[in-house]
């Protein structure tokens, strides 16, 4: 059974049909890509699946359970981690606090523990901190753990976001343009990180990306979205040679 299965998802913003009959099936360990011109509805699809919007029609199954109508935090706790296109970090918090906080749903000490500082709380928070450091090591930013995120260079901020998403213990990771605004060097590092996440943690990854080089190298299967509709789905080679995709990106040749 597929890890994430979306059947005929459609969404309207008022009278505008933003997404039309979208289907997706992601197997564990697979890397899926979603490409398309600006305004095609890629981020809307992410927001629909992660629960920020509720789809007008359609079914979404995560691990066989329907998640339409659930709150974003419930869907996240069920194993759907994500990063954001416009870095959404908490500006007054340190790197370590970011990663610790993402383990919120794994804590069980409750309010009594928080108010009175019970031994259970200290044990759980120590374990959380240890796990957070492991993730920071993996992202090679452990030495920045007590820095405020706003003081970090852009590439490091992206890594913090990645570490934070991984701390929620996802089964599938949604990456919304993980390399937006990166220089070529940072891009290569980010690709290495994504590969490592897939290989070491065995996660399925679903990514939106503009840089074709990255999508072509990383993804197993790519979908091309235009005006909320998937016009092509296939391996990188198939997508590269698909006439519809070429038309969507470059326009049609007009015979004069």
């Amino acid at each position: 059974m597929a890890l994430l299965e979306i059947i005929n998802m459609t969404h309207f913003f008022g009278g505008l049909r933003a997404v039309h009959d979208y289907n997706l099936s992601v197997e564990p360990g697979q890397v899926r890509g979603l490409i398309g011109p600006n305004g095609a509805g890629k981020t809307t699809i992410f927001n629909l699946i992660t629960g920020i919007y509720r789809p007008s029609q359609g079914t979404i199954l995560l691990d066989g359970q329907g998640i339409v109508g659930r709150q974003p935090y419930q869907i996240a706790a069920q194993g759907l981690g994500r990063t954001f296109q416009d870095l959404r970090l908490w500006r007054h918090m340190t790197v370590l606090e970011h990663v610790k906080l993402a383990r919120y749903s794994k804590l069980s000490y409750g309010l009594i523990g928080a108010f009175f500082g019970t031994p259970k709380r200290h044990a759980e928070e120590a374990a959380t901190e240890k796990r957070a450091y492991e993730l920071l090591e993996m992202m090679q930013i452990a030495h920045l753990s007590d820095q405020l995120v706003t003081n970090l260079p852009y590439g490091a901020q992206r890594r913090v976001e990645m570490a934070r998403a991984l701390a929620t213990e996802p089964k599938i990771l949604f990456l919304d343009e993980p390399t937006a605004g990166m220089n070529p060097e940072e891009l290569i590092q980010m690709m290495a990180i994504i590969r490592r996440v897939r290989d070491d943690l065995g996660l399925a990854i679903f990514l939106i990306e503009h840089r074709l080089k990255m999508v072509m190298e990383l993804c197993d299967i790519i979908q091309t979205l235009v005006f909320g509709e998937v016009i092509a789905e296939g391996t990188p080679e198939e997508i590269q040679n698909d006439p519809d995709v070429i038309e969507a990106y470059l326009g049609k040749e007009v015979v004069v």
Binding site: W90, G113, R121
Partner: protein, 440 residues
Amino acid sequence: MNEIKDAALAAENGRNKESIGLRGKLQGIPLIAWLIGILAAAVLEHTFGKILAAALDMEKIPVLFGLTVILKEPVMIPKAAIYGVLIYGIPIFTVAWIFRIRSAGNLLAENLLKLPLIIPTLIHLGIFYAALHIWSDLSAYRVLTVKLTLIAVMMTLSLNVINGYMGEFSCSHPGFMALGAYAASAFTVGLFADDRLFGAAVLPEVLGPYLFPAGLVIGGFTAAIGALVIAIPSFRTRGDYLAIISLAFLFIVKSLLENLEVVGGPRGMSSQPDYANLPTVFTWCVLCVWIINNFVRSILGKALNAVRDDETAADAMTINTRRTKMIAFMFGAFWAGVAGGLFAHVLRYVNPATFGIQKLAEVLAMVYFGGLNSVYGSIVGAVSLSMLSEALRPLEIFKWIIIPLLLILVMIFRPTGLISFTEFDPRRIMGPKNRKEGEV
């Protein structure tokens, strides 16, 4: 990475250079030495204060460090200054300086911290309380000021949880205080006092002080229920709704109390038993600071900051944002209710007019003056503004020019308050202040 290290080293060096001056030497003295110094000054004043005041030809000892006196009669400035230096200045600095010899103070602090944290905490608090008790023992006015200041600390800190840590703007804090004050008063007056509103006492008076905490907790929960009423509609969405709804709530509470004859209407309620003595208020204040500090330093409490800084991201990181906001709001209201209960029993009289816009302005000023998102800042803000407001009393109406002016200055130079976004770590505060220079 090396750049960061270099920058840190440079900063460290800069700090060391600074600390060579007198200020640096004073900074090398741990908290416990200062507390013992303050205790010594308090004892000294208790013993010789009256004699010295008589010798300086003052009517009585200067109550609030002489500020009140010199504002009334500027001629008294030199006398008040001499008194201040002899009674407070010299003893405190001498004792603190003695603890610098062979780093005795730092060694003491270091060894104390090797014990479980509760023991050094209690020792520090004990010394501080002793000093406070002896200092305030000299006049009833001082006792009242100290009690009201401690209550202001509770109010400020609990409002900071909502306005600072959670980043929502709540205006209903005096309303919660009123709910707590009335509920706790109804509890104690109804059970333990003969009163025109509630009739004769139900339980023997001896039990009163033991059940007083229950009354305060009931007051706290009443306020928390009031908070729930606001929280349900206003936390569905984000924005300025809370500010408007909570302001409305403040007025509803006030006019409700004014029109409820059961609790005395506009004349209010009196004959609360005298349960809120200094140790009781102090203990509750410490409890409040301790629990709130525990909460905001836990991951559950940090979730508030996440909600404030980016709610969508908080949601995506498995944080139940709505529940987090409701809990924090009710938690803040609970402590406002407890503070209200104490307030009613300190004044032993309570009426609706107390809990109006003026009270709101006071608490908000303390929060924003002291610093957002900071336990330390709230304590500083509440203490400094309540002391200042007492000390400037002789200036009458001009007081309300000076205090707002001060607030404006703070907002210009430190937009988030004096001491904002800092963590209140008991270990660091009580710990030894070892610096390279200090160890020599």
